[in-house]
Symmetry: C2
Subunit: 542 residues, 2 copies
């Protein structure tokens, strides 16, 4: 069966009885296993749920989505290389500064982050360890005339989410495909990609999603940082803990709890949830005189007589400009940055995840080969492999005012624009502009603003891909879909300003996320209900 046939015949169709059973099973399974979110006010009004007790299933696909095995394996094989690449970027302050200089003129958010870095640098950093909890996001590029390939959409350096729920979706789809037996699952009708049809034997499919190690990988990363922090720097010494920094109105709570619970279960490391609004009241740093190493002290509101020293601040918040709506937010970020706690991420690592950095890294020789210089110890084959996942991206600004950048040429011509998307460089900076809407859009704004955008070649995912989604409000929707694969990795390194190179202490990959959304929607986040959590069923080219 050729790949396109797989997408055309998948998922198997359901009778009304079958769909009712499958949907009911998914509804129950998801709450039983905390594959859950707090509902948005669009689903349940504040008036109905004033105490915020209700929960609902995360939006999920009823079936795992087919994915070519070589592409999945490529993403996994590249994760540690990507981890190292971004550790290197974040360790090279000078290189980052050159790019930031241009960016901070157009982006207050990045400018404020940079200012915090400069301020702490001036005071002197007291922590040279950084933890990255990364998720590299890809789409499958599957033009009609070539085998499918991976193209990177984004590399997340802060608040990479859904590792917890993604494991659960893979477990759920596995249960649906194998309960009570793989040859006779009662939830899924026969299909060659499962193990329940006469043609199954001819497919190189294991019949269910591959195991998802995201939770153990991510918690091992947190544990590595906690251990590397070493003993308490306080006098007398304090018990140590990890802080999960969370949004005050977080709805994706159970994804985060999957990590903190496993952190305690597997590593016996206590962690506490700290809402961003309480950073400055519940944490403190001793004065320079009393303790120049600046330990971050956390006082649990429920147990004010017990103080903890924070080894690691794991950011599941403060990633978006909209979260910094008061001067106190910026003060809080500065407060954390100057502390001795390891940050996941540091300001420099946070900045390294901006779209502009991704665009600069993708620039190909004969331009400066940044990738090669950041990864000097990797073979050309590895770097070629890495570069093969870059989707072409273009700046709309040029160092030389006499040369029209290629990005502008491609963006202004209707025929070439038709294969591109225009993305604002600013974080949280507005919507993407697609295809032939690009030339009229650019012509409607002053040319001086063009450099605020990056032009990216469109990725063409498999056009026949279909799935069925159970939304968080319980509605079942079906149709053509686009999926985005994320692979998780963690990296802990030490930076010494002299070398500008990271000394890597821990570098792992493990676990994946598939997010699937309806094809009509060009944007959307899972928690918002527009897209859904999915898992993989791997196939190989015949």
């Amino acid at each position: 069966m050729a790949p396109n046939d797989i997408y055309r015949t998948y998922p198997p169709s359901l009778t009304l009885d079958q769909e009712e059973y499958l949907v009911q099973t998914v509804k129950n399974w998801s709450i039983e296993h905390a594959l859950a979110i707090r509902p948005s006010t669009a689903i349940v009004s504040e008036e109905t749920n004033p105490n915020h007790v209700l929960a609902t299933n995360a939006p999920v696909t009823l079936f795992p989505s087919p994915f070519p095995k070589p592409c999945f394996e490529q993403a996994r094989s590249l994760q540690q290389v990507y981890n190292e690449l971004y550790a290197s970027v974040a360790s090279d302050e000078q290189w980052l500064e050159e790019i930031m200089t241009e960016l901070i003129e157009v982006d207050d958010f990045l400018a404020n982050l940079w200012k915090i870095h400069l301020s702490v640098k001036e005071e002197g950093y007291t922590q040279n360890l950084t933890l990255g909890m990364f998720r590299s996001d890809y789409m499958l590029h599957a033009p009609e005339d070539a085998p499918p390939s991976l193209k990177q959409v984004e590399f997340n350096t802060i608040s990479s989410s859904f590792g917890g729920l993604a494991c659960l979706v893979a477990n759920m789809h596995t249960t649906l495909a194998t309960y009570p037996s793989p040859s006779h699952p009662i939830a899924y009708p026969p299909h060659p990609l499962f193990a329940n049809s006469p043609e199954s034997a001819s497919m190189k499919s294991i019949g269910h999603p591959p195991p998802n190690a995201a939770v153990s990988t991510l918690t091992a990363g947190l544990a590595a940082a906690h251990e590397a922090y070493g003993p308490s720097k306080s006098q007398p010494q304090l018990a140590t803990c990890i802080i999960f920094l969370v949004q005050d109105t977080e709805r994706n709570v159970f994804d985060q709890l999957a990590l903190s619970s496993n952190l305690y279960k597997e590593h016996k490391i206590p962690s506490f949830r700290l809402p961003t609004s309480k950073i400055l009241t519940l944490t403190s740093i001793p004065s320079q005189d009393s303790n120049p190493s600046r330990p971050l002290i956390y006082t649990p509101p429920s147990s004010p007589s017990t103080q903890y020293e924070v080894t690691l601040v794991y950011f599941r918040a403060l990633y978006a400009p909209t979260e910094y709506n008061t001067p106190a937010s910026w003060a809080a970020r500065h407060h954390l940055e100057r502390s001795a706690a390891i940050k996941c991420p540091s300001i420099l690592l946070h900045l390294s995840g901006s779209k502009k950095i991704q665009q600069v890294l993708t620039s190909q020789p004969p331009d400066t080969d940044h990738v090669k210089s950041f990864l000097p110890n990797h073979s050309d084959d590895t770097l070629l492999n890495l570069r093969s996942t870059f989707a072409p991206q273009y700046s709309l600004s040029s160092p030389d005012p006499n040369v029209e950048p290629e990005g502008i040429r491609l963006a202004l011509s209707e025929s070439t624009a038709a294969n591109h998307v225009l993305k604002p460089q600013r974080e949280g900076g507005g919507n993407n502009i697609y295809r032939t809407n690009i030339p009229p859009f650019l012509n409607s704004i002053p040319r001086s603003q063009w450099r605020q955008y990056i032009l990216m070649e469109l990725i063409h995912p498999p056009s026949a891909a279909k799935n069925t989604v159970l939304r968080s409000d319980g509605q079942v929707v079906r149709g053509n879909v686009i999926s985005e694969l994320g692979t998780f990795g963690t990296c802990l390194w030490k930076t010494t300003p002299e070398t500008k190179k990271p000394e890597i202490l821990h570098n792992t990959e493990g676990g994946y996320l598939l997010r699937t959304k309806g094809k009509d929607s060009d944007e959307g986040g899972v928690a918002a209900g527009f897209s859904s959590l999915d898992s993989l069923i791997l196939y190989e080219e015949p």
Copy 2:
């Protein structure tokens, strides 16, 4: 610290910050671990939740409730004796018939159940194994002038629920008392019953609830029955399964799923949920000619080409008169009873759990010593121990019309009535009448109806007991409480009509439930939000 002091100082008081933290932690923990129920329409309207996706925390206490260790151990030590007692009752059809003869005149529900038994008996039972999944419910009787003792409220022989959620509550309270360390839990302030106060060492408390083995005990019972059923009786043989018979509108789903999931995890036995409305469409029994052993065949609606033979029907439905609102409900119960599937419970075991049976069993020598005759192999000490848990109960009818039964005398006098409760014998037969309301109530109804009631001496639980409850709508209520301890047990036996004695194949105890309700409410079930799930913190007399 004397027991009354324990109740007077417990639970420790909370600052606003402490309560907020504790409540938020409980809200999140409960959904993360499926200590959850589907909300009632009083919490979320059908209009808001038309697809029934929402879930909320089960109503739970914020703290485990103190309980005297000797009473808990007594309940555990008696469980297997009680299991055997009810196995013996259910095996003695003739003894049951004598009691039923009177009952069925006043109770259509019991009469209809009895009719089904007679009909199947006439046709001939094809299954001589019965499974009991029991919960023996007690209250603590703690008058001022005597040490506390256990008094049995009810012995449940059908649909004994909350084993799944009770394990979770015990785990939750244990986490709250020990995270991140027993000496410094951040959720609970210091109290001698925890391990976090200077006086803790002097208390013989482990500082958290005892482990709760309800789920493993109950699933082992289901597994024992499944194994004892033996090979498929169909030609050709079919795969076998257990059926969880559930209400169509069940809200306590996750309590049930805890058992079915563990049944597959620990024993690899598949089980399917069958709503009562679909019994007659999804199960069938081959005609007498084609297969006289009457296997019960289940056809999953989602996979109609796969048939299963049902080894065991585990009733989590059809226990209350209100569930039999159509002739089809009775036909369905008859259909299941005549099948070869093991029933948990059989009709005779279901009937054995009626209040009248409990009242008859409590009758003391010189009346007939039923307990002794049902448990001929137990020591007098054991039987004395068992009888010590009986609360005095009285019939309001008399075999001799010339003798005024003691029950009537006690019920009509205001001074003695003040220490009693009047309970309808009929299952689901209305509300209990308390204390001095009893005489005027009896005088307001015809004397011929008096025999529909049983008079029971009131149990006096510790008057100073207090706790705080997080309801399913998120409201926090605190005050004086009354708790009811349930201990779980399972029993599998073979009945041969000749001996009238059960041949016991499996008899276990394990796991407990504490249900705690506000003292003002004389009635209430946990799922309705009036009472809450709790766990124990054991103390010993000084």
